[in-house]
Symmetry: C2
Subunit: 336 residues, 2 copies
Amino acid sequence: MTVNRRFVLAQRPSGLPTASDFRLTEEPAPEIGEGEFLIRNHYASIDPAIRGWLDPGGNYMPPVPIGDAVRASTIGVVESSRCDGFAPGDWVMGLNKIETHSIGRRDGFTHGIDVSAVPSPTAYLSVAGAVGLTAWFGVNDLMQPGQDDTLLISGAAGAVGSLVGQLAKLRGARVVGIAGGPAKCARLIDRYGFDAAIDYRGKDVAALSADIASACPDGVNFVYENVGGTCLDAALLNLATGAQIILCGLISEYNGEAAGARNLWQLLVRTATMRGYLLTQFLHKFPEGTRAMIDLVAQGKLVYDEHVEQGIDNALPALLRLFQGTNEGKMILKLI
Amino acid sequence: MTVNRRFVLAQRPSGLPTASDFRLTEEPAPEIGEGEFLIRNHYASIDPAIRGWLDPGGNYMPPVPIGDAVRASTIGVVESSRCDGFAPGDWVMGLNKIETHSIGRRDGFTHGIDVSAVPSPTAYLSVAGAVGLTAWFGVNDLMQPGQDDTLLISGAAGAVGSLVGQLAKLRGARVVGIAGGPAKCARLIDRYGFDAAIDYRGKDVAALSADIASACPDGVNFVYENVGGTCLDAALLNLATGAQIILCGLISEYNGEAAGARNLWQLLVRTATMRGYLLTQFLHKFPEGTRAMIDLVAQGKLVYDEHVEQGIDNALPALLRLFQGTNEGKMILKLI
């Protein structure tokens, strides 16, 4: 009998998740029905969005039911199939769960992947996956920064932020990143080619705003916001006229009260726009975006980093690293 | 000698303005130079934006200097002129000051007005002035609501809000207004033809949000925000997918700390947009908008209200009414 090891939600976390909010279970691997296939998951994507799915209201997806394995994008190999187009041995990715075996079905998120096109299958959870697509459409469809524009990115050393900055540089924009600590700031410049880096640690809105003003003397034309709170309020004080803020994430809020933003008046003064962004807006263009990102990697125009933790036992520590900021690159959990 | 009575800023207010922040002065009327004309102001527009101009940072315009008369739009009659196109006896409007006599120059805000086209010259400070234009471009250029859309307006009984609602109704949208107290809510329905009215008084975000949800069961496609604070946070909890929020004003913040908004996460969940709006974005279309508003009034398709206070001695009480919510219609100060 095949055993399915699962990272199951035991109770809804309050604030930062703790060990007692989850349990690891072992169950018989599920039987597949007509139109289904069994996936042996190799890797799971550990994303900040998972935290929202644990709350009673979910976020833009329904909450993970208590007693069920935690939702995550995974990549793996089809073990058995009763679904046309998915054969044993095929590599697939989909929105599944943190578990060793998932049932796959034909849906908008599940599709085959060509692992020969990328340096490692994990690329489909990072540069060629949701993270990379989020950056691609954010830069090239939503913002479209040009060579006269300054783009400010919070969470800039993160998986999405580091790609957003590189893609904006490829369009000729000036790119300034906000990150936590000198090591990450150095990586923004040295590895990702940002024009300037700002360490937010220990700074209030006024101090961070002053640093942004120094790095962006003509104001900021685009803000790519992954963090919220102090970062967002400081960015709001440095908008150029007609600026656009893309709200991609608010990681500073995910384990506590919604801080929101105080300096909204600046949107009016600068006739600026704040736009909420979900990758699913561009579902119809996923193949195009994936190809573009794979090509850029192949051409050596993009670098990306992955932080792989080993084993389902480390699912919680991997998730917590995102909120501690101790991951270096896209957080991925190896399940095999 | 002609005396110029002026409402002068004596010191910058902290919170709600008080009598000691201003003084009334009498000075000789100014001499006109080449390219200038002297305006006998008949009416001044008393707007929430004036409060921001009294602060050290101003808002989207420079602060009023201490010792100078307070900035306001006025309408009046040319008394003498050394400027082609402006002759004695002409009615004009412009961004001038709260004073009986202003120097006029040819600029983007100063132009002649046809008082025969409107029921009263004051219309150029209300339905055919900045207030009316703000509503016109906000509805017909920025939002463009259609018959399948629900529009939520805060400060709905105010000068701008009441026109926004009527213009949106003319496009077939469902219109719901938020106002303070039962009398204003009744006016929204009975006089301005709104579909529903919500009294915000005494309600926290949760209670106001529940009322909005009742009035807008399918969510809100457009929010026209004049107030901020509790109103904005409650609106954010009721967005339909792809909703657009127009930030036209945040009157709840003008005399205190910036409350901002906490529920920004909803922008992301609903892939919604919040857009700061200044009328000056549409400066090039002012003649077109003015004609449209005058025509709608002439056709009986729009009603509007003006609240006229008599005399420059009442400049401060008139301003304070805006923040107390005790004006009924566009606040105008009669200066003659």
